[in-house]
């Protein structure tokens, strides 16, 4: 027996849960404002999540997937991407969407059951939330292929969950991305659970980064609760992608502190103790600790920030709640570019019936 190939998976952590630096800071962190910006984005995300959950609990929003505890993944992505890049998200990347210019009101409209929430005024080429798990991965390859064909220095970030890595679409997409060397970065948002299925029942793989090995593309792990590390790793692989260096996969190891969605009760299938343990590793506290210890951040800053975020989110919620539903027949209008005779008739029939005409 001879050895014909070897692989290894690296793990990057810069800021430990304690707030201690365990590796050199990346260049961007030389400017404290950059770190503060990351922190602010995480706090905004958490505030948004809390408000969305509250709206759902009071019957004013549909089922909602909180990103509590996973803010560093989304914010790291949002910070590393350039405006011209395209985000192909899963459904827990509110933080990244907000940073890219999707408004909180648009997000609420989407989760409230209104298509207009996907008609982003901001990042016009970004994909909306993807509900069928893993099915977004091939889209990212297509978008990235478009960039390559047009010789544009842009990249795509596609986010999938740990559960999604079991889905055939993801494997097919990773492999195609590898063959065509497209500028796509796949982020596995590994929060340890796929609803009630823990990672060890999802796969026998010891890391999810190694899913990349099957596709012949680079794969690595990052501490998904360390926003500095997430941003840093993503900036590196995004730069490589934009420069023609091909795709990669980054597994961000984090933890879902919330229920799967507001329709779920995680106490049915996991121990409180496990959750408590992970509260000690969540992303906000460690960055706050670091910033505070360095004198970059004060209690006062924190209070001001919480107020700002609260106000912004309240305003968005009010704007959302004040938006009347679409005119019912609107759902006909975007089925095709032009309404076929067939559908025009159905639309007219619906309108007539609603008016009580025969």
């Amino acid at each position: 027996m001879t050895t014909v190939a070897t692989f290894s998976i690296a793990f990057t952590r810069i800021l430990a849960p304690s707030g201690e630096l365990v590796a050199p800071l990346p260049a961007f962190a030389a400017d404290p404002a950059e770190l503060v910006a990351l922190f602010r984005a995480m706090v905004l995300t958490r505030t948004f999540d809390a408000k969305a959950v509250a709206l759902q609990r009071t019957g004013r929003l549909g089922t909602y997937a909180s990103s509590l505890g996973q803010e560093a993944v989304a914010v790291g992505i949002g910070a590393a991407m350039r405006p011209a890049d395209v985000l192909v998200p899963s459904f827990r990347e509110h933080g990244a969407q907000l940073m890219r210019g999707v408004s909180a009101k648009e997000l609420l409209l989407f989760w409230g059951g209104d298509e207009r929430g996907n008609d982003f005024a901001g990042p016009r080429e970004d994909f909306p939330v993807c509900v069928p798990v893993g099915s977004n991965a091939p889209h990212a390859v297509g978008v990235a292929l478009a960039f390559r064909l047009r010789k544009e220095k842009r990249a795509v970030v596609c986010v999938v969950g740990d559960g999604a890595t079991s889905k055939g679409d993801v494997a097919e997409a990773l492999n195609m991305a590898g063959v065509w060397k497209v500028p796509a970065v796949f982020v596995v948002n590994n929060n340890g659970w796929a609803i009630s299925v823990p990672l060890e029942r999802q796969t026998a793989a010891v890391t999810l980064a190694q899913k990349a090995v099957a596709a012949g593309i680079p794969g690595e792990q990052v501490d998904g609760n360390d926003v500095i590390a997430v941003r840093s790793v993503l900036e590196r692989v995004l730069a490589r992608a934009r420069d023609g260096g091909g795709p990669s996969l980054v597994e961000a190891v984090t933890y879902r502190l919330s229920d799967h969605t507001t329709a779920d009760d995680a106490r049915r299938y996991r121990d409180d103790a496990e959750v408590s343990r992970h509260w000690a590793e969540e992303p906000l506290v460690r960055l706050r600790t670091y910033l505070t210890q360095r004198g970059i951040w004060t209690k006062q800053d924190e209070e001001t920030l919480l107020q700002e975020c609260g106000r912004a989110v309240e305003e968005a919620a009010s704007a959302y709640l004040a938006t009347p539903p679409r005119e019912p027949a609107a759902f006909f209008d975007h089925t095709f570019a032009a309404l076929p005779a067939d559908l025009a008739e159905q639309r007219a029939g619906m309108t007539a019936e609603r008016r009580g005409e025969p």
């Binding site: 549909g62 299925v197 796969t203």
Partner: protein
């Protein structure tokens, strides 16, 4: 006898099937510890253990494919697809394999599996959670397709589906999961898979529906009765193989047919019923066949979904149209 909801009836049938036949295996996403996102599989893990109640990785094609392998080995897998919106990934396995394993091996290998999946609209769910793809499955030779519309029928039909020697698609209307309640004896009695149920006899018009639309249709029939129109309501329950005789017989008596379906109009199962009646019962018709259906648009998001789905008013309007013919 106790009153249970439709989803509890599903649960009772699963328990009964597992109790009576050790070959019955339940598998799917979150069917174990969590007991299913709708609690359809609640308690199964505790009763029958990890060997027979398998939480699967998130991979619908493989869930179907693994069930095929188990079935070929003589097990009776009952696979759950969490929502029918994610069952499209199973079509390849169900069509290219499950439906034809018996045919292509001349009966050497068979596929006694059930693919259960909740679907349909009306629960204000997020997109892809409101699908009604029954016609797609009903078009596939070698598959049976069943949709219950009450707790008792869910219980009896699911038991029969599990006992059936061939693959059955069992689609459960989430809208009825909790609101549809009824007496279920839990006596292990199955209901025949090849029979429609006349839920309400009538003489003036035949209303045919299935699944969640039964509720709206019965409500419409009730209101029509107040107006002096006696509607016969048929729950086809098993779409494939279809009990055509019951429908033809009813139309022969009423002369009028309205089919109600939640799925998009074009190529829905209502088309098949209309076509059968237009083929074999046409001479009995005194009015055109009406289809009251979802529109040929994508199911809208929650805020406007109620405008998409046929409701009592639309069904009554359809009936009025056929009643306008003498």
């Amino acid at each position: 006898m106790s009153e249970v909801s439709l989803v509890q009836a599903v649960n009772l049938a699963l328990k009964r099937a597992m109790a009576e036949d050790p070959r019955v295996i339940v598998l799917g996403e979150d069917v174990g510890v969590d007991g299913g996102v709708f609690r359809a599989t609640e308690g199964l893990l505790a009763l029958y253990g990890e060997e027979r109640v398998l939480d699967t990785p998130l991979a619908e094609a493989a869930i179907a494919g693994v069930a095929i392998g188990l079935a070929a080995q003589g097990f009776r897998p009952v696979a759950e697809i969490q929502f029918t919106g994610f069952a499209y990934s199973c079509i390849d396995q169900m069509l290219n394999h499950a439906s034809r394993l018996r045919t292509r091996t001349c009966g050497r290998l068979t596929c006694p599996m059930v693919l259960r999946s909740p679907g349909g609209g009306g629960i204000r769910a997020i997109e892809h959670h409101s699908e009604s793809p029954e016609a797609i499955f009903a078009h596939i030779p070698g598959l049976k397709v069943v949709i219950p519309s009450s707790a008792a029928r869910a219980y009896g039909l699911l038991l029969s589906a599990i006992r059936d020697p061939d693959p059955v698609i069992f689609l459960e209307p989430t809208r009825l999961y909790r609101v549809s309640r009824g007496e279920v004896a839990d006596d292990g009695a199955g209901l025949p898979l090849e029979r429609s149920f006349i839920l309400r006899p009538g003489t003036d018009v035949t209303l045919v529906a299935w699944g969640a639309m039964i509720r709206e249709t019965l409500a419409a029939a009730q209101q029509l009765a107040d107006e002096g129109i006696e509607a016969e309501v048929i729950d086809v329950a098993t779409l494939k193989p279809l009990d055509t005789a019951t429908i033809l017989d009813s139309v022969a008596r009423t002369g009028r047919l309205v089919v109600v379906q939640e799925a998009p109009l074009t190529c829905g199962f209502g088309a098949e019923i209309a076509a059968r009646v237009a083929g074999r019962g046409l001479m009995n018709l005194v009015a055109p066949i009406e289809r009251v259906a979802g529109y040929d648009t994508v199911m809208p998001y929650a805020r406007t979904e109620t405008f998409y789905m046929p409701d009592t008013a639309r069904i009554m309007a359809g009936v009025q149209r056929v009643m306008s013919y003498a």
